[in-house]
Amino acid sequence: MTTLAAIDSSLRGKAALPLRPAEQVMDIERLGAFHQSRLSFMRTLVRRIFRERWLIEPVRFDLDHKGYGTVVYEINAPHGVFSFVLFSSFLCDDERNDRVIATQWDLTMALVEGQVDAAYVEKLAQNVPKQEAGRVDSRVFVLSRANRSGRNFDYVVDQLAAGEQPDVDKIAQVGYLYRTTAVYGSGKLGMADWDKVRDKHPDFSRPFAGEMFVCWMLRNFSLLQVEHIAKHKSPDSFKPMRTDIKHYFGIGNSTGLGMAPYLVNHPQLINQWIEMRELALARVRTLGGINSSVQQRLIALIERCSLHTAQTVTGDQRQADHNQRVISDLAALKQQAIENLVSFDSLIHWSEQHCSVHGQEILVSILLELHPELVDELEDFHTVEENLDLEPLMPLQQLKTIIEQRYGWAIAIDFTAEGARDTYWYRSEEKMEPRLGSIADAQGKKKHMDLAVGFAVHRCYQLLCDYIKQHPDHTKHSTARFMVVQPKLRGTVRRIQTMNHCVYGDIQANLLDHNVLPMHLLRCKLAFFGVSKFDPRSRLWVRNTMFQGAPLLEEIGQPFSDDWFMPLAPTHLPT
């Protein structure tokens, strides 16, 4: 069991481990090449559920023969009792819409503290199916909705009803029965604030643990529901789904621009996640032993990742090219692992010289799998108290030096270059959906969101240099004095000063650039969640799969190997 002090001494000072530098890690393209790892939130949640043997069972199961109705699961976790309430409703195919602006869904769900009685379920029934148009109270801490997969849901029901199994090759194309289109927490729509969840419910006190739990429960319910419908459709011929095929069903997810502002607006939290990931890597590089068993495991994981990538279906040419390159990178890494495996550190260095950024980052995830004893304990250190504090006493010369050292990337951007400020971010009046506009829309630009940290720091640096020039006695001037003169810079200056205390700091990108790819931001956060099968549908939104390969609800209490990293199609599993 590690401690905050031990982590801190590994990150900073004389005993610090050799971490990868911020200018390497925080580059937006590399962040966009991150993959799921054993520190991803889905992995850490499943580990907790299975090691603590949570008791989860339906206490109300009112579904008609077509699968519509209400289901309530009761969850007995070590620190409390919770209820997962789910409403399944009929939805016409032409009303099914994954966008945040949709108003109806096949399934709506809520995660609630404590047990729920009939009156409370009725109260939820009046509001949860309405999602943004409804209100809930502070007993609820996650709210979500999902739509059936048009390609899989009815097909799987028909197969099971006919006593057949779903075709694995077809499932490999779309690895889910439902897509969740939004998972809300942190006080939205009247729900409990994160402060309450963090302090009162240790079972869900890690970032997004409640949200991930709802998605995992949705996945379990989806498998239960298709069997329920198929059984009622044809009781005589029905056969349940094979367990290995069930494992291969995850939950689909569509993620759009809404995730990008979160990353920019929570820099300390994102830094914390990255510090833990990089610390885990540094531990494995430095302390991770190698023997023949570890080497064999490394080779097996490389092969698994290669096959997983080969089984990833995407219509996006850029993603397809990346996947192909990753497969060739993995082949080269395998060869290196067989012939020249001296240390993990040298393997990382080799990958940096010979592999794509995507290949390098998949190797990072693989290495974290090899030494869980060096990695897993860091899962308890993914939260941080977020305060962007001004350091009023800081001399202006020191502030200037910090900008030069920590934000050199922002100073170096030529914002007068063509296309460097062609994009702006804004919120639509339609459900306040974040959108990305062109500077050509002058009216819209006036209402832009302040997400361009690079530009703000660049501008702040110019004004600071001007102030220092105009005030030869500036050495006597503190940041506080500068702030009275330049109140417009308050938010930027305190961000700079606060992030200076972080190892990794801000994401290094010009988010105003004509060619900015928000996809990188979305993918970074999704990788921390633990998704796989990235399938970009444009530069602004991406489909992916959650919990594919994860153990099933009914397997709680059985031997648990925690080895569902980069899952493979059942037919490709070794016999």
Binding site: S138, D193, L393, P434, R435, K488
Partner: protein, 260 residues
Amino acid sequence: MYISMNELKAALRRCFEASGYFVGNYEDAANMILWLEKHGLHGLNELTNAIDYVAADREKPLSKVVYEDSTSATIDAHGRSALNCGAAAVDLAQAKALESGIATITVHNCHNRMFILKALTDCGRRGISAAAYWQNGSDVITEHTAAIRSGQRYPSYSEALTSLTDSNGTCVGSCEQSSGNTRENKQALTIICSSRVDLTSSLQSKDQHYVSPQQIAENKAQTVEFGIEITQQLWDQINTLGTGILVENTERSRLDAGGG
């Protein structure tokens, strides 16, 4: 109706951003209101009094330091709300206290001074003790003080009715001993910060209403558990102001979200 703290903060940020507050200032303003309400000190009542004037601050000159030495400064806030100038004044007090041990900042022409409590609390969290004093009202004058010790999370707060009046600059009762309540220094706020001394404050009035740090902590626990009660009217008003940052929805605009 009940809303969450996060909902209130997000709506207030939109409201102040739409009202022309700068980056950093609109977060401060939202946090100041939320902090009072969250800790049982009626932030929404204060906001109700202030909300009609929020947008007017855009037209006023920026705060100006009119006097300064190593242990003190005087700032003219030009009639601005503490929501958008209070935190900077506390920062200046903190900086001087760190240099000199103790410092006093006086802010003139500053409205809604109750909101300063959040900034004082931040001082305490950062290891600087802080205290503030101000008077309110014209016909009937109340006085207020708040203080936090170094390293603490919650301040104390006191308010009391005074026998002062300033209708024509004259005074009754103990006016001579008081700091004076003439028209010239109305809307004044005095902030004291120290890195060396733990400051506490309480009013001399026997009828003061005193809220202890413990009571403030208990109020917070209640809010975290159940959320914040707000009138539909105020909630609508905040959200209506916030629509100023939203861009009209069009078919072309929908494409800016990526279609799908």
